[in-house]
């Protein structure tokens, strides 16, 4: 069976950065947003190591603030370095998307032509 997590792993970092770019947020909110846009299997535990790595690489910065549920949590904001990395990610993502799309579009077109021939024949 196809392992969706492998496919998600590469893009997750960029998606997290994009969410943080929009506004200052923390782990749980990021998870909720990711789930809303379709990353159903994502849990807070999955994104925390990524957040830690992004912070270590200075792409994001954190401040401790009280969360809506009480405990103090790390709220993240994107740094200038992070913004540059994000635009680089997006450019690369578009290229990958275009390549995959083109390849599958050709297949789809061939399939359509085949169906059309069968109908006419």
């Amino acid at each position: 069976m196809f392992d969706k997590t492998q496919l998600m792993r590469g893009s997750l970092e960029g998606c997290i950065l994009k969410i943080i770019e929009k506004r200052m947020t923390y782990g749980y909110e990021i998870t909720e947003q990711l789930q809303q846009i379709g990353f159903q299997d994502i849990r807070e535990g999955s994104i925390y190591p990524i957040l830690l790595r992004l912070e270590r690489q200075a792409y994001i910065q954190s401040t401790l603030k009280e969360s809506p549920f009480g405990p103090k949590r790390k709220y993240y904001t994107i740094s200038e370095l992070g913004k540059a990395y994000l635009s680089e990610f997006y450019e690369n993502w578009k290229q990958v998307y275009y390549s995959v799309h083109t390849l599958f579009e050709e297949d789809d077109r061939e399939d359509d032509q085949h169906v059309q021939k069968n109908r006419n024949g």
Binding site: R56, G70, K72
Partner: protein
């Protein structure tokens, strides 16, 4: 050794509020992370975040296992990969502090032993010969910490990992008491040899230390195997 930061205080407050499975999950992860050589401040920050995650889920009444995809060990491993490690300086400092502490403790034990031997001359293991050769014995006494400290650290982490309910402080205290008792027994066992030649004692102590070190190493090796197989779920 490390100054208490604001993070430590906040962490203490948040951990106090944890209950049941949330507290257990936090504690297991804390112990697991503690068995790795992570930078103190970086580890405290991670723990604060973990406590926050557990506390939030406790308040929301949502199952904590789901947060870590039913595999908190894998979660901890990915944290460890991204967490700052202890620097060589930090390790040396830790080693030096324990060495000084054990040396002082050794000196204190020797002082106590001299007092006992003076008060009770019949106390067979405390012969005047031992007192005269105190400086030589002191250096032999310090041999064990020198050999044993790196192993001691490893051993303590393993033991705390295995017996999660035991406090690290209590275990260290018990180990010191054990160290003291073994030392007293050794003096008694080698009493006759000691009278013949004082130089034999450091040699025997070295052999004894090496034997203990071997036992600890074997234990640590198997404990490591156990840790990798029966770690946190």
């Amino acid at each position: 050794m490390f100054r208490k930061t604001e993070t430590d205080k906040m962490l203490k407050q948040e951990v106090k509020q944890l209950r049941g499975v949330y507290k257990k999950t936090y504690r297991d992860m804390n112990i697991y992370l503690g068995s790795f050589s992570l930078n103190y401040y970086a580890k405290q920050e991670v723990l604060l975040e973990l406590a926050g995650i557990c506390l939030e889920n406790q308040k929301r009444n949502s199952p904590i296992e789901e947060v870590f995809n039913h595999n908190s060990k894998a979660f901890c491993n990915s944290l460890i990969e991204n967490c700052k490690r202890k620097t060589v300086m930090e390790k040396l400092l830790e080693y030096a502090v324990v060495l000084v502490f054990l040396s002082l403790l050794g000196f204190l034990f020797i002082c106590i032993a001299i007092e006992i031997s003076e008060a009770y001359p019949d106390f067979s293991m405390m012969e005047p010969l031992y007192i005269k050769q105190g400086s030589l014995y002191c250096s032999a006494y310090n041999l064990l910490p020198l050999l044993g400290i790196p192993l001691l650290f490893f051993f303590m982490n393993q033991i705390q990992y295995r017996f999660v309910y035991a406090s690290k402080g209590l275990l260290i205290f018990l180990l010191f008491i054990g160290y003291f008792i073994i030392n007293m027994i050794l003096q008694y066992v080698f009493k006759n040899i000691l009278e013949e030649s004082i130089l034999v004692l450091p040699i025997f102590l070295t052999i004894f230390c090496l034997s203990i070190a071997t036992v600890i190493l074997c234990y640590a090796y198997f404990a490591c195997q156990l840790k990798s197989n029966h770690g946190i779920q």
